[in-house]
């Protein structure tokens, strides 16, 4: 019943957004609102803001011409490609992020040395990294395997995905009270035992949101990386291509944008399923 309520609320929010969109179209003049030379509200022409039903019906029309697949199928197909790459980059991000968190938990020196770099890493724009990674990948000698464009995309996106995991896992692994740590010292438990029996279970409440954040970051990263490496077939490239139709077929560019949103939701939802069955690690201690 509560799950049903949440789904209902989610749908209501989407509906509200659509209504708001139409309201803006109806109320704001076609040329937008300007204060002096500064335009504070956008143009609301059918070119800039197509009607909601128009955008939806465009999804069922063919991609181009009469014989092609419907637009929604093309979007889903591109979305599937991007989702697979995002899954790989999520995995890389989780492994790398967690390894970094472990390192920083184990060695205080690593924490003071690596943590600033981790934070700093996120100030480098993905677009700047794209040609570098692409270039390095091309130079790699992997024996029989040749470096594929999607691998560059996955690596670039994982650069975005590892960050929340590294920070969340570090906070989680360091979350046990001094009391519990001293208890384990008193038990003469080894570092590994303390990690497995105390730090890992205690980190779960911090780790789950971090994993979900990493999933949405991975999707975002894949979309951006597809655009900046020019990889065809995914949703990122589709957004770029369809943007050209803004004047001739204004509803079309919105289709891959909806696809990208759906992609993020699916990714976050799938990761959210990890939390099912870990409920007992979210119990909090009531102090005596």
């Amino acid at each position: 019943m509560r799950a049903l309520r949440r789904v209902g609320l989610g749908l209501a929010a989407v509906l509200l957004l659509a209504l708001l969109w139409e309201l803006v179209k109806a109320v704001v003049p076609e040329d937008g609102w300007s204060i002096g030379d500064l335009r504070v509200l956008p143009r609301t022409t059918d070119l800039a803001m197509p009607h909601v039903p128009e955008m939806l019906s465009r999804l069922t029309d063919p991609l181009a011409g009469a014989s092609a697949d419907p637009l929604w199928l093309a979007v889903l197909r591109a979305g599937g490609t991007s989702l697979r790459i995002a899954a790989v980059s999520w995995l890389i991000g989780v492994v790398v992020g967690f390894a970094l968190a472990l390192l920083m938990t184990r060695f205080a020196l690593a924490r003071s040395a690596v943590l600033p770099l981790v934070v700093l890493s996120q100030t480098v724009p993905l677009i700047a990294l794209a040609p570098l990674v692409k270039g390095w990948g091309a130079k790699l000698d992997l024996g029989d395997v040749t470096w594929q464009p999607w691998m560059s995309v996955a690596v670039i996106a994982s650069y975005l995905a590892f960050f929340p995991v590294a920070v969340g896992a570090l906070r989680g692994l360091r979350s046990p009270d001094v009391l519990h740590e001293e208890l384990f010292t008193g038990f003469a438990a080894s570092w590994t035992q303390t990690l497995v029996r105390l730090r890992l279970p205690a980190s779960v409440p911090h780790l789950l949101p971090a994993l979900r954040l990493a999933a949405t970051s991975a999707v975002l990263g894949v979309v951006v990386a597809e655009v900046s490496t020019g990889m065809p077939g995914g949703i990122g490239r589709m957004i770029l291509e369809f943007a050209n139709f803004a004047s001739s077929d204004p509803a079309k560019p919105w289709a891959p944008i909806f696809g990208a949103v759906l992609l993020g939701l699916v990714a976050a939802g799938a990761v959210g399923l990890i939390g099912v069955g870990l409920g007992r690690f979210r119990r909090t201690e009531v102090s005596a």
């Binding site: 001293e182 208890l183 008193g186 038990f187 438990a189 279970p201 201690e285």
Partner: protein
């Protein structure tokens, strides 16, 4: 391991000092706790009683002097699991059931599944929580959580039990009941106990000897011999004349030790 087979004293503290920077928490402390003996440390806040307990537990190191636990260094004793420890907060792991919490030290030290289960069942029986074995800590009252913590501390049959105000956060009724239980448990297990407390009646009721400490710098002011009721303590003892005399003796020792340092001492 039985207490009889141990030749050395449970705890032997020799000229111990602990300084935190410019602050002297403990200075010139000598204390011997015999095997099977129950010794309370009492004194106002800041007298270093918890510090002394932490030194014995090897959670901290003295800046001078030495401490031996059953004739070994505190580190060796800790690594050999010579002692069980309980704090003011139960410190149970919230994601483990009561039974799994009691089994924790056993599983850390490689006791097999069957052995753990058997021992945990015994311990649950000892602290009277058999029907709560599969509950989680957040489903228990504070007193019950503390009983689980004591069961966990006793799970490995330690010959020494270190307790830092284990009943400090509990209400008076629960407190008295747990005190009686602790007396019974100690009689059964014959473990030596070092017990830190704020409460004079608690120290007197439980202890063979009460070590009265005074602050700035923390040191032992006086040791009061109690040994009430020939080891068979029960609630009737709380109304015994000897009990009140011992309470008075400890109170006077506290006053005499530091007339200005009585903050934090409960007289209930």
């Amino acid at each position: 391991m039985t207490t009889e087979s141990l030749p050395a004293a449970a705890v032997h503290v020799d000229g111990v000092a602990r300084e935190f920077g410019a602050v002297t928490a403990l200075s010139g402390v000598d204390l011997t706790v015999a095997a099977g003996e129950f010794v309370s440390l009492i004194g106002p806040s800041g007298c270093g009683k918890s510090t002394l307990l932490r030194l014995i537990a090897d959670l901290d190191r003295p800046t001078a002097g030495s401490i031996q636990v059953f004739g070994r260094s505190t580190e060796q004793a800790r690594l050999a699991h010579d002692y069980g420890i309980a704090f003011q907060q139960a410190g149970l792991l919230p994601w483990r059931t009561v039974r799994a919490n009691i089994e924790l030290p056993l599983s850390l030290h490689g006791v097999g599944r069957a052995g753990r289960r058997e021992r945990a069942t015994e311990m649950l029986d000892l602290v009277g929580l058999t029907e709560f074995a599969d509950h989680f800590p957040d489903q228990l009252s504070g007193g019950m959580q503390q009983r689980v913590a004591i069961a966990r501390a006793l799970a490995e049959r330690p010959s020494l039990l270190l307790m830092d105000e284990p009943f400090g956060a509990l209400d008076e009724m629960t407190r008295e009941r747990l005190q009686s239980e602790l007396v019974r448990i100690c009689a059964e297990t014959r473990a030596a106990v070092v017990f830190v407390t704020h409460s004079i009646p608690e120290a007197v009721f439980l202890s063979d000897r009460v070590v009265v400490m005074s602050p700035r710098p923390g040191r032992i002011a006086e040791v009061v011999d109690v040994r009430l009721g020939d080891g068979s303590r029960n609630d009737a003892l709380r109304e015994d004349r000897a009990y009140f005399e011992a309470v008075t003796a400890v109170r006077e020792a506290l006053h005499g030790g530091a007339a200005t340092g009585l903050r934090g001492v409960e007289t209930r």
